[in-house]
Amino acid sequence: MPKLDSFTLEIKTGAKAGPEIPSFAINGFPLEFDSTEGSTQPGETIVLTGSPNSYPHSLVLIGPQNGQPAWDIESITATYDCSLMEAYTIRMGTIILDDESNLNFWNEPPLPIFDV
């Protein structure tokens, strides 16, 4: 399991807006993003950065608070910067994040594929 130094999330919001200031948790431990640029309004893109400096079993984007409307996420581009390896990017598709769910956006480094 690699050590995740930092990551960048680029989240494009669909039809329904998300929380004004999203937060995340690594292995169940809640943390705040280092920086936030943009917004979670419909059609807008927000860029979030975090520095867990740890070994993630789970890395979750925390859904809206209780009673808040669901967040319609159109796409997510996550770039992971891990120790002792090159940074890698994973693109994720549409998902709706409601007040009963968290989104695990941790993805292990893709296994190398080569032609034989």
Binding site: I62, G93, S101, F114, D115
Partner: protein, 287 residues
């Protein structure tokens, strides 16, 4: 009895000096027996003990568990359309470094899977398997759909870059002949799906689940497709770091002993999804 013993273990003195403890058989200097002094038992009304705390406490509210969900991963178009007109084969070395999956751009074994844990199993069952075992370092072979999965022997020290090229050449050369990758007798011996399901379900109910119940685990047969088995690990097994060992060393052996003709056994559990599988409860502030 020595005098120091009496001084140290003088029970009467100890009782007489303890407040609230009635003395018995204690003698004064005149030799008369002193009557025990009754001592009132402590009660809540005793001012010395204070008044009982009648404050009502509310049960702490546990944070509500949230489901952990995943977003679908979008593959690069370049990666999806990179198959060539010829027999293109891509190799992916698995994380355990002992297994390599060869993804072929056409079916290797349609609708079935064939598992050969050692060369003798492939001798009469699979011409392709037999050729693959001729390569130094190959310990087991799984043919399934459009993939060939190769396991390295424990003693093999050949790098996968070298072993995989040789394996790819054998697979490509064999598929070009157009011949079946398994023999007809092997096909004929495979029991129907219903029979496999019944036998494996009996294993799950009577052997596997009682065994892993100690760890609050549960295994469910998701489906049988041909002779391939798809299962889901739940309860304590979901998200458990040892689930892979349970699967390979326990469940695989039990299933293969019950139905030797089964091919691939695939764990289709999403070990990071569900209701917070890694942790018993969320820390404060997560809700």
């Amino acid at each position: 009895m020595p005098t120091w013993f009496k001084k140290v273990f003088n029970d009467d003195v100890a009782k007489a000096t303890s407040p609230g403890v009635p003395t018995s058989n204690a003698s004064d200097a005149d030799g008369e027996v002193e009557k025990p002094v009754p001592v009132a038992p402590p009660t809540v009304d005793n001012p010395a003990l204070g008044q009982p705390d009648t404050t009502e406490f509310e049960e702490p509210v546990k944070p509500k568990l949230r489901k952990i969900i995943h977003a679908p991963i979008i593959m690069d178009e370049e990666e999806q359309s990179s198959w060539s007109e010829n027999i293109a084969i891509k190799a992916r070395v698995e994380a355990d470094r002992m297994t390599c999956v060869f993804m072929v751009d056409r079916p290797v074994l349609e609708g079935l899977s064939a598992w050969f844990p050692q060369p003798s199993y492939a001798e009469e069952s699979s011409p392709l398997g037999k050729q693959l075992f001729a390569i130094e370092g190959i310990g087991n072979v799984l043919l399934h759909g459009m993939t060939v999965t190769i396991g390295m022997t424990d003693l093999c020290d050949r790098p996968w870059q070298e072993l995989s090229v040789e394996t790819g050449q054998v697979i490509r050369a064999y598929l070009k002949t157009g011949e079946d990758t398994i023999t007809q007798s092997f096909r004929d011996n495979i029991p129907p799906e219903g029979e496999i399901h019944l036998k494996l379900q009996a294993c799950v109910d009577m052997e596997i689940n009682p065994g892993i119940a100690a760890h609050s685990g549960v295994v469910t047969l998701e489906r049988i497709a041909g002779n391939s088995v798809y299962l889901v690990m739940g309860g304590g097994c979901q998200g458990c770091a040892a689930s892979e060992i349970t699967l390979r060393q326990g469940i695989h052996n039990t299933f293969r002993n019950a139905v030797p003709q089964i091919g691939g056994i695939f764990d289709v559990t999403d070990h990071s999804a569900g209701s917070n599988p890694f942790y018993s409860e969320l820390p404060a502030g997560m809700d």
